[in-house]
Symmetry: none
Subunit: 133 residues, 4 copies
Amino acid sequence: MMKIFALHIQIDPHSGLPIYRQIMDQIKYYQASGALQAGHQLPSIRELSKLLAVNPATISKAYNELKHEKVIEIRKGKGAFLLEPETVISEAMQRDALKRIARQFIVEAKQMGASSGLVREILEQVLNELSMH
Amino acid sequence: MMKIFALHIQIDPHSGLPIYRQIMDQIKYYQASGALQAGHQLPSIRELSKLLAVNPATISKAYNELKHEKVIEIRKGKGAFLLEPETVISEAMQRDALKRIARQFIVEAKQMGASSGLVREILEQVLNELSMH
Amino acid sequence: MMKIFALHIQIDPHSGLPIYRQIMDQIKYYQASGALQAGHQLPSIRELSKLLAVNPATISKAYNELKHEKVIEIRKGKGAFLLEPETVISEAMQRDALKRIARQFIVEAKQMGASSGLVREILEQVLNELSMH
Amino acid sequence: MMKIFALHIQIDPHSGLPIYRQIMDQIKYYQASGALQAGHQLPSIRELSKLLAVNPATISKAYNELKHEKVIEIRKGKGAFLLEPETVISEAMQRDALKRIARQFIVEAKQMGASSGLVREILEQVLNELSMH
DNA sequence: GTGGTCTAGACCACT
DNA sequence: GTGGTCTAGACCACG
């Protein structure tokens, strides 16, 4: 019964991001950081709903989207479980997609006046935080 | 006259992103890349509307949001003009905000199976592309 | 439910002011008077739209502008809620801004032939009306 | 030939206010302050247009509006001249109108966090500036 | 139920 | 010519 009680998700109703997106992002983050690993069970919809004081339909939507993105698997009557991260896209597509999101990141960074040095520094910090050495 | 003819914006109706957001993002990108500079005039609403085959009200919304974000200035009867980028936030806030968007970037990158090496490589490429050496 | 039934807004189609501006001004007035307080929910767009016999998009624009001015907060799927008024400007800037709008006020008052005594009298009346003793 | 060369009007294209309104407001301001008096001649449209680097049609609109408001008089082939300030509205209407603009003023003042003391102080300052003792 | 996006088309205000 | 406002109505996203 590998229940994950340490999974504390923060919802910010003022962030502008849809709540279900915030939940998805943080589950992905925990997966990326290694805190959540393949096979781990996620809290039930009902549980998480109470914990976050969020409508169960919202949790359900988050889980459902994660299912479609093949991040989790839903076993009827059992619960939701993390899957092995998939990496099936081609090299070229990966580079393209990466460039696209990198561009978004850098444009925003530049907008707030960050220097390339600071960008690199923060990047290394976050790579480290997410155990990508 | 300083008309901007080189400003070609691509709209992808399947991207999920609202059209007005796509327009905003690309104008910000052109600004970040230096292709658009402070004082430059943007295409008129009607022009861009025809060019992109998009309703004028949608272009208007994009411009209006950019106005609120202080990216452009709208002079009634004249047109829309790029502003000097503002950078008034504190060092600490800048680092925090940067970390937040970097985390988002890296999580997505990791999700698609990118190695830290590839992330660094693409980042340098994009920094270069946006003249941040 | 905290619905606001007492929020009756008057639209004057001949005033020259855009409808969405009239709505904004009156909501700001209700906020200043204390009738609307932080956390209070505003009527839904559709409700107000019916009440004022005005297109929903127009109400939406009013709410959206108030969002940008940080007067209200919009939670998708929930509604629009009043925010705590922000006051982060410096003393000097406040005095300058105040002087500017005071000048506008007095010039208009003088234009209509009002004496300084009448101006002071009306001012006290309005300060009182808005609970600023 | 009582030409008014000392009439220096400031146009701020970023203020949001239409240029013709800014011109009108400042002419009214000069009238209210006593700098401009009945009979004084205003600069010609062509002159002011050059001086302010503003389209002549814009100056023309400002003068035309002032004419309708009976602030100035346009004598063909002669120029524009200030009129005696009219005060024909009834006491009750005056009070109503005054209250309306006072409300606008105070709501804005409150929005920026000004105390009633500061409002009164600035008001006296401006009344003084405009010679309304 | 809530608000958000987009369209088509009319009319107005500003320069 | 420029952008701004408003309408009517369709469809989507969020909780």
